[in-house]
């Protein structure tokens, strides 16, 4: 258990050491001012999402009233969304996010484990390749992605979105899993192996459970990234029913539609769960994003 706690992706907090110059006799006034400033800033960063939620609860006819708060709260908006066409787009989003997550784990787990445990020819090359994919973004090579998947006949297909999202989120998973595997002592695995568990038995019964926090971080991160993805989906899907929610919502705002409340209900459904999920892995994400280059 100790091993996992000391995993390299350093959480950005340490209560004892983080108030270096205040010491223990920090004046009360200063603390109050600091807290007040922090709360104001926190509010600013939450503000657009508060507006999003408030707008989603307005009745359709008063959606475009110039008032800060809804005069009437229409909770049913979040229910009617499910019978609108956007619900189908949410299903596509869910398929893409879940598919990419499974793909990334299937591909990244063995690669991260092997590079953490063995020094093989091409290991450095592989790590460079992973770092390069992390630096590149799908937007930069959109034309190439479009041409390639058109040739495959995979336009309007969930599979192309799963592949692209999986590929571009692989790096994060490799870094974070690599760090966890490297921090788990080889002896633990050897011991389980000698107990008659077999190579894979030892891997599944000892190493993988110890790396679980890393696996969960990689899982949530990939899921969110694929869930939020927009540009590739905008390029690779043309039929409205085949588009994930981000693309569908974006085409909504172009038109002067009546049912804007569905747009905001959709935004709330697409955004709030993701923010909560992200809060769970927040401590480890910086490590995964910078590990490849900061070492």
């Amino acid at each position: 258990m100790m091993a996992v706690k000391t995993a390299p992706p350093a959480p950005p907090r340490s209560h004892a050491r983080t108030a270096p110059r205040g010491g223990h006799a920090m004046p009360r006034l200063k603390t109050t001012l600091v807290a007040a400033a922090a709360y104001v800033i926190a509010f600013i960063f939450l503000f657009p999402y508060v507006v999003m939620v408030l707008t989603s609860l307005r009745p359709q006819e008063s959606l475009r009233d110039a008032t800060l708060l809804p005069t009437q709260w229409e909770w049913s908006n979040l229910v009617t969304f499910w019978s609108s066409g956007l619900a189908g787009n949410l299903v596509v989003t869910l398929q893409v996010a879940a598919g990419s997550t499974v793909l990334v784990l299937l591909v990244a787990l063995p690669a991260a484990y092997y590079t953490a445990r063995h020094n093989f020819r091409g290991r450095t090359m592989f790590l460079i390749l992973v770092l390069i994919t992390q630096m590149f973004q799908p937007t930069a090579m959109l034309v190439g992605i479009y041409r390639e998947f058109s040739q495959f006949g995979l336009v309007d297909s969930v599979w192309s979105l799963i592949l692209v999202n999986g590929g571009f989120n692989l790096a994060f998973a490799v870094w974070i899993l690599n760090a966890y595997f490297a921090s788990i002592p080889r002896d633990l695995e050897e011991a389980a192996f000698l107990d008659g568990n077999g190579r894979f038995g030892a891997l599944f019964r000892v190493t993988l459970p110890l790396a679980m926090p890393g696996v969960i971080t990689a899982l949530i991160f990939t899921f969110i990234a694929a869930w939020n993805e927009f540009v590739v989906a905008l390029t690779l899907t043309t039929t409205p029913e085949k588009q994930p929610l981000t693309v569908a919502l974006n085409s909504f705002i172009g038109q002067y539609q009546v049912d804007w409340q569905n747009l905001f209900a959709g935004s709330v459904i697409a955004t709030i769960p993701v923010i909560i999920l992200f809060a769970l892995i927040e401590r480890k994400v910086v490590g995964g994003l910078t590990a490849g280059s900061i070492k």
């Binding site: 091409g122 090579m141 992605i145 490799v174 994003l289």
Partner: protein, 294 residues
């Protein structure tokens, strides 16, 4: 450990390499190839046409403006992001009640889809009902809702600052967290020593905190450069690069070209990509990562 068979690494690492090859490397090759092809609107390849796509691209009357704007966009967004994040990291590093909650609030724009955030900002800037315009009306900055003054996204002069604002807004959380992680690695005895020497706060920050924060700062800044350079959803959702091309960056321009001339769009991508490669090279050189990994 037991002797490795030469093909063993391939079984473990192979799938990852294959995925990278299909999704990252192939598109790069296809993109470069397309930039030298004449391709019809429906995607039929009419053969190689040398540098015609590039000539056409460089001859676009908006090209120079778009390139200059792209550079300004990246520099402005990243510089503002870094400055604001340095201040916020310092603030959120202090101890105060409710710090955990306040830090959580900071996560929201990072976790949420950039597109959703941009859509909400567009809604808040709506000339007739937008919250931001309601506030501006109350502050006396505009005379009425719905007029030209309220249409901030309708003119490049006011739209650009808002686009930069939103881009900074979504970049600050990651950057602040990266800097907080950097601050956590600075041992407290360094500060005690500085205090003993009677160094002022500003002096301590300038000659101790900042230099020790440099690795975190460099990585965070360069990750931001890559993100902002390729940033698409903000401008696309808020202005589509309009009016004209007056709020378009090279990435937006590439996307617009894609529907009229894929070959030219590919040429724009290659130019973009060249810049990305330069940035990556700088990134690798500065962080000197290969020494540690190997």
């Amino acid at each position: 450990m037991r002797r490795l068979r030469p093909l063993e690494p391939l079984a473990w690492v192979g799938p990852a390499v294959l995925l990278i090859a299909v999704v990252v490397i192939w598109p790069v090759i296809e993109m470069v190839r397309s930039s030298f092809l004449q391709i019809s609107r429906v995607g039929v390849v009419r053969g190689y046409n040398g540098f015609d796509n590039y000539d056409k691209l460089f001859a676009e009357k908006d090209f120079a403006d778009i390139m200059v704007r792209s550079v300004i966009w990246v520099v402005a967004v990243v510089a503002l992001t870094v400055l604001i994040s340095l201040a916020l990291a310092q603030l959120f590093n202090q101890r105060f009640p409710g710090r955990k909650m306040a830090r959580w609030a900071l996560i929201a724009p990072w976790a949420a889809s950039v597109l959703m955030t941009a859509i909400v900002f567009r809604w808040m800037l709506d000339p007739e009902v937008g919250v931001i315009n309601q506030i501006r009306l109350k502050l006396g900055l505009i005379d009425a809702l719905g007029g030209a003054d309220a249409d901030q996204l309708g003119v490049a002069a006011t739209a650009m600052p808002w686009l930069v604002f939103v881009a900074v807004f979504v970049s600050v959380p990651f950057t602040t967290y990266a800097l907080l992680a950097g601050l956590a690695t600075i041992p407290s005895d360094v500060y005690e020593a500085a205090k003993m020497d009677g160094a002022s706060r500003l002096r301590t920050y300038w000659s101790i905190t900042l230099p020790l924060l440099r690795p975190a700062l460099t990585v965070a800044a360069l990750i931001n450069v890559m993100n902002v350079f390729n940033s698409f959803p903000i401008i696309w959702a808020m202005t589509h690069g309009q009016p004209g091309y007056s709020t378009a960056t090279s990435t937006i321009f590439m996307f617009i070209l894609k529907s009229s001339d894929i070959g030219e769009s590919a040429a724009m991508s290659v130019v973009n990509f060249g810049m990305v490669l330069v940035i990556t090279a700088v990134f690798l050189k500065i962080s000197r990562w290969n020494r540690a990994v190997a």
